[in-house]
């Protein structure tokens, strides 16, 4: 047991930032180890003793610069301070350790699941499925072989092809999202479900299609309707959101 707590010799006291901690996966893990090691009751943690141990341990492991451990140390000290305050009303007194205990138990529960997953994962790891081959890395691209003459002739071809550009005037048409939203709302007021192709008229202008699309996304974002597609490129189905309808 104690071997896992041994400080990593590579962690010097000057190390600025600890990225990976091999022994503990977090402050709760360290705290649970201490509780187990000290053999104290989790529902009645002697905060002063555990806090002292915790601080000593993070110092010895060189973790005292990792924010999460420091935060836990601060939390322990605060709980300790709260325990020292005189209790005016014994009945209304809430154990300041309660929240910590809840988190520790929750964490412990999760560790049990981890053990199970680890076991199952290891079993499955030892069996291969069909076609389980490591992916072959793509062969590196051959370096580009090109002579100056080839490059110049290519430039020449491009310049020949590029005749005078076609100039035409662009007429700006404003996108009308509020208008589209009104339209969609009124359609959905009549029908619970509608298809995208029904919503957009045949031969509609791009700005109209765009307005309807943006209006649709806006309504979907605020949860007024649902947009579903059974498979890629299938018709999009728009329906009233049952939840918001009920509300």
């Amino acid at each position: 047991m104690t071997a896992t707590y041994a400080a990593d010799p590579s962690v010097s006291s000057e190390s600025g930032f600890i990225v990976e901690l091999t022994a503990f996966s977090g402050p709760l893990d360290l705290l649970l180890s201490l509780i187990r090691e000290e053999q104290v009751d989790i529902y009645d943690i002697p905060i002063a003793r555990i806090c002292e141990q915790f601080v000593a341990r993070i110092r010895s492991l060189g973790l005292n610069e990792a924010a999460e451990y420091l935060e836990m140390a601060a939390r322990l000290i605060r709980i300790k301070a709260q325990m020292l305050l005189p209790r005016s009303d014994e009945l209304a007194w809430e154990d300041p350790r309660a929240e910590l205990v809840r988190r520790l138990l929750e964490y412990q529960q999760m560790r049990e699941v981890v053990d199970l997953l680890e076991r199952r994962g290891e079993e499955r790891r030892n069996q291969f499925a069909r076609a389980y081959l490591p992916q072959q890395p793509a062969p590196p691209q051959a370096p580009l072989a090109l002579s100056l003459a080839e490059l110049l002739s290519a430039v020449d071809r491009v310049l020949r092809a590029a005749t005078q550009p076609n100039m035409h005037e662009i007429v700006s048409r404003g996108i009308d999202i509020p208008g589209a939203i009104t339209t969609i709302r009124s359609v959905l007021a009549l029908r619970a479900r509608i298809l995208w192709t029904e919503l957009v008229e045949r031969g509609a202008e791009p700005w109209q299609i765009l307005s309807t699309l943006l209006g649709l996304l806006e309504l979907a974002k605020i949860g007024e309707l649902r947009v579903a597609q059974s498979k890629p490129f299938a018709n999009v189905e728009i329906s009233r959101d049952a939840a918001s309808e009920a509300a």
Partner: protein, 190 residues
């Protein structure tokens, strides 16, 4: 083997992923669920009784033919296939939380683990074990994560319900078995 069993075997052999029962049913629309099940049993028994190097396993919501564990090392040594890398402890912890609390946001996971999980989530997502399943209501509408079918495959689980229920897990801290002192001390103090 019956023709149906042979058909299923061929399909299972051809597929790299577990085949769900309804997908198996689409191979032969005349076959009833009972017939499919007995054909699957037939394949499994065929492999087990006659002693094949592969076995039929139910996992990830479907069925899959897997090599038997005893041949893994030889296969790996010959570099015909490689075992996937093990997940780190941090990844397993995060995955355990997501499996039980899905859909769950990053901040909720961090609350339980007591450490930041951004990088771990990215790794799990890249390995296809988790996916974004929605967005929470409220401030910032954080992404919500859930496990994927690949998660079930990875841990050879038939479905999520195969994991022990939260109330089946020991809720008290497990103490080292050699030390029953604590209980006695508690009783004494009462």
């Amino acid at each position: 083997m019956t023709p149906l069993a042979k058909l299923l075997e061929a399909a299972l052999f051809a597929s790299a992923r577990p085949i769900a029962t309804d997908e198996l049913a689409s191979l032969d629309t005349d076959a009833s669920p009972a017939e499919l099940q007995s054909a699957l049993d037939e394949i499994r028994e065929h492999y087990d009784v006659e002693g094949h190097g592969v076995e039929l396993v139910e996992l990830g919501g479907g069925w899959q033919i897997l090599t038997r564990a005893e041949y893994t090392e030889a296969i790996e040594r010959a570099q015909l296939a490689a075992r996937p890398a093990r997940l780190s402890g941090a990844a397993l912890e995060t995955l355990a939380i997501i499996a039980y609390r899905q859909p769950i946001s990053r901040s909720e996971i961090e609350e339980i683990r007591g450490v930041a999980v951004g990088g771990v989530l990215k790794t799990l997502h890249e390995r296809g074990l988790i996916d974004v399943v929605g967005r929470a209501e409220g401030l910032g509408r954080p992404l919500l994560y859930g496990t994927t079918p690949v998660f079930l495959e990875h841990f050879a689980l038939r479905h999520l319900e195969e994991l022990p229920r939260a109330d089946e897990l020991a809720i008290a801290l497990r103490l080292p078995p050699r030390e029953p002192v604590l209980v006695a001390a508690n009783e004494a103090s009462e």
